[in-house]
Symmetry: D2
Subunit: 342 residues, 4 copies
């Protein structure tokens, strides 16, 4: 009798199999694996034999030590939501050599592209110029460019240099800019290998005409960019916030923009959805995006490809390479809340 296919427990909520696998990938998934689609709450009710056979979990369901003990052949938890929350005994998983991986890298390119658009929009005043044109009060030629600047030959700062920071660096590669990066979790020589300048937070703040904030939120960096930090930014600079709102003092940011000293753009907000009366809604010098930077269908589809590629390696007894592994040292520092909607 042929070996049974490896078993995948599928609990990808709020994602779904159809969101993250396109048709050919879904075919691959179901032809290579037995896929048991279930809900987080029902996991513990599965019989021991089934749990004991499970090789992969697709999703981020709560796992108790007791449940984990029954999952004796588990090799990897594929967290396709991609924000790590504190709902499983990571230490036990890591001791046993079970990988916990995330697929958030799929968002890096679409977020970087939106980020670059925002940076260019701020540098060139594209949104207010279009609005003025609509209203018949446009200013023609150089007179309309009094505060305009190029990214070429400019100083750019990036705060956080994970997948997203690296994608930003890549889309900026044609611009001949000086790029400074603050990332306290990375050694300086690795930053230099990416052709960026390692810098302190203050150096980034004080020298950059454009700053991208792409650090994940951790136990250490909440409100990292407070009023004092923001006040270090040069006059006329633009700040683009792409990771999580909690990393800045949002009121302080709005105050700086309202004063006209800097401009800003953000894809993330202190509350999502945001109250209808929130003052950022009609703030000039600010560009708003409703947490749309990463959530493209093409990005979700890549999650499925990543999962299949790493399952194929794990099936052969090799470590996963495509998804990002949670790490003992940092998993408990992560503070990004999971998304409620895709």
């Amino acid at each position: 009798m042929a070996d049974p296919k490896p078993l995948v427990l599928s609990v990808p909520h709020p994602r779904s199999i159809d969101l993250i696998f396109d048709a050919p990938s879904k075919d691959q998934l179901f032809s290579r694996y037995e896929v048991l689609e279930t809900e987080a709450d029902d996991l513990a009710d599965l019989d021991d034999k089934t749990l004991g056979r499970a090789r992969y979990i697709l999703g981020q369901p709560p796992l108790s030590d007791e449940l984990l003990a029954r999952l004796g052949n588990l090799r990897c938890v594929f967290n396709v939501e991609s924000n790590l929350i504190d709902n499983m005994p990571y230490e036990t998983l890591f001791s046993r050599g079970v990988h916990v991986v995330t697929t958030g890298a799929v968002f890096a390119q679409p977020v970087a592209e939106l980020g670059l658009a925002m940076a260019l929009n701020l540098a060139r005043g594209i949104l207010p110029a279009d609005q003025a044109f609509r209203e018949g009060r446009e200013v023609w030629g150089g007179d309309g460019n009094l505060r305009a600047r190029t990214l070429e030959d400019s100083d750019i700062g990036i705060i956080g240099f994970g997948d997203l920071g690296r994608a930003l660096r890549r889309v900026l590669s044609g611009f001949r800019a000086r790029i400074r990066v603050f990332d306290p979790w990375l050694p300086p020589s690795m930053l230099r290998d990416h052709d960026v300048i390692p810098a302190t937070l203050d150096e980034v703040l004080e020298t950059s005409a454009t700053i991208f904030v792409v650090a994940a939120i951790t136990s250490e960096n909440r409100a990292l960019l407070d009023a004092k930090a923001l006040s270090r930014m040069p006059d006329g600079a633009g700040l683009i916030l792409l990771s999580r709102a909690d990393i800045v003092d949002f009121d302080a940011l709005m105050a700086e923009v309202r004063s006209g000293r800097i401009t800003a753009a953000s894809d993330v907000f202190p509350e999502e959805p945001l109250p209808k009366q929130h003052p950022v809604r009609d703030l000039d010098g600010f560009i708003r995006s409703a947490h749309r930077a990463g959530a493209l269908d093409s990005a979700f589809r890549k999650m499925g490809e990543m999962v299949l590629e790493d399952m194929a390696l794990l099936d052969r007894g090799l470590p996963p390479q495509r998804c990002k592994r949670a790490e003992r040292e940092t998993v408990n520092r992560m503070r990004s809340r999971p998304v409620a909607i895709n």
Copy 2:
């Protein structure tokens, strides 16, 4: 007695010396050269000895054969307006070996940056999303991205591959896109050397999700993009017009955008300034910029640097390298009207 300094006749209207030379460059200009600032109308009234000494003309004044005959030591006309108009006997100039050069390359980078911003804005719906957010009707997350797409892994077309097309290619270098170029004045192998795919106009139109129109207007390409050509573009594609409005049938373009089939952005318009009632003003799916793409102070300042660098070569009997030379074969095909304002 020391040799007198070489003489420059300065008639840069509508530019001015202070617009195109920053302070250190202006110092260089005046310390290396004798600069006679005059007006186009007054040139012919200069005495023969002065005209006979003139090595350079800075500007694009009308020159008759008669006046040219008096300019016996002229080596180069630096056209700092940068659109070549038919106001001098180019054939005579070229026969004598007098260079006519333009400094329009300074605009390539700022125009390319604005062009890329427009492409990203169209691909991601950034302007209407911000407007919706202002008005409290934003759509959060993936639901707001139903028509969004990335430039990465997309098909991009560029029509015209001069300085501006090359600058676009450079700022797109981090995007891993397939870039097709239509430029009938360039051999295919040169395009391949720039890592783009040589293509016919129809191929560009039919395959590109994003098209940049950056061809100079010539005697041959007026209304090149007419209704039929535009109809070849795929549904959902975006067209970014950056060179001159005459290259498209503007009414046809507006009709395609109004239908919702494609989106567009433009920095140039059939009339500039544009009448207050022009229908493009409130056209959804269209982003407007009032001929602001290139006219940054930083760009104008580079003109002066380019002029000084090429004068230094010409002073040593070498050909100019930095500015772009007008050519016998094409100078009379150019149809871009000069700008009235900077």
Copy 3:
């Protein structure tokens, strides 16, 4: 009283502290850490208090489970020899969350540079042409290039895509070649992200005019390139062997070169040092290098920098990033013998 400095047990043989730390790095090491220099054999004789304080081991000494139990605060073993040998209970280390890292990445760039030189030397016949010139029998101009080829616009294969394969890809980035990579431990999409073409071993062998062999030797790939595999290479192709000799059937390789069908270069040999009478010594069409590809002083010095950078992260409770981590799944598959000399 100030906290004592963290303790480093230093047993780097065959490296030495002076080999891998330049003067400023050595100063840093000794100012930040208490460094106890000892020998592998003496480790077990250290008292419990000392062992219990040790945070890092610099080197690759044998570690028993018993000794490990006494090293209660150990965070990381820095294997600066860089070939992982089976002399410590890796499973126990990983269960406890102790990192084992290697610093072999420092060799990637010098090896890649030598590899590229070898590829160009083979493609252009540089060594025999110089020898002929010495002997007065050189052939001038195109007549001397009958078998010469460029790397530009050629097909290149890379077998193994770790640090070294990636360094090769980087030094080849200016050549516009089609690069195919075989690496069964990596998912195809990661290869595509590095702008190479994922391929099977046979595809690499059959299409490449130049093949670089840079795979580490494992339990699975001994003599991967046997006579049959080598026979798939196109006539006139060149093979450059840079990792370990055991990955090819060396006799088969010599036979192919002796026949004149292919050419080859190698930095590694079945025995090192090699017997004086080994037939590769006077084999034409073969370039020999005596395991010199990586061992540059500048490379060794980078080991010290890497170690310091990762210690700094580990000191702050963060995971190491600069050095390469051994992995549970693969550590026991590694079969490279450690070097006896630097």
Copy 4:
């Protein structure tokens, strides 16, 4: 009656049509054009009607003013030998607007590849190490690398930045080196655009561990690199000579190499062929190549493609773009002797 095909006078000696056109290109040539294959000496004997119809000359035959007057429809001389010699009235040609173009750019990539190989060979001592290995006196590992260095993170100088210098810059793009360029015919900002550092000759000589000499020989740079200039090079540096031997004092270069202070490689020699007893033949620290750097069949074939591409533009009344145009200011400064053999 259909228009007759445009007439090409073909006198490509020492090249030949079969050398520079592959089969498909040759088909194109003969299907688009009437090709009259003749000899330089026979040109003047052609009848007026034939000469008057000729649109292109393929080759570099001597042209008198008288003969030129009979070539009333001549648009372009395609010099496929590629060294401009003083055998035609260039001034008359340029006054009339007849282009004179060369196809030497085809050699840039093969020469750059050989140049890079030479630089790596010198930096790593590859040739003497192989020779020692042949003779059983190789030194293993780091002990064999006492004078070895990487190109990465090194200082590289390029003298001359035409097609060849640019090809070198391209093949060096993966090396993260500081590249200084001396080229007095180019403005500094153009060099910066190629991501190299404009420098004086002395700066290049004094700072570079590796120097590439790729300047064409002109009336001004004979023996530019004399004993004094060479003495400025740092100890241990390597010089790679790729353009013409006359640009260096060859005896002085040999003396520096003989002293062991620097190393060198050359593709060009004071006499070609070189006397059998020339002392460079057995000079250690010197790598010899018998003018083989560019003359690959694949390069010659590209000449035909370039010629066809530019003829196609010229046929449409457009200027040539692919080949390099001779210029009034510099054509008479060129002093490279033409090659006698391909």
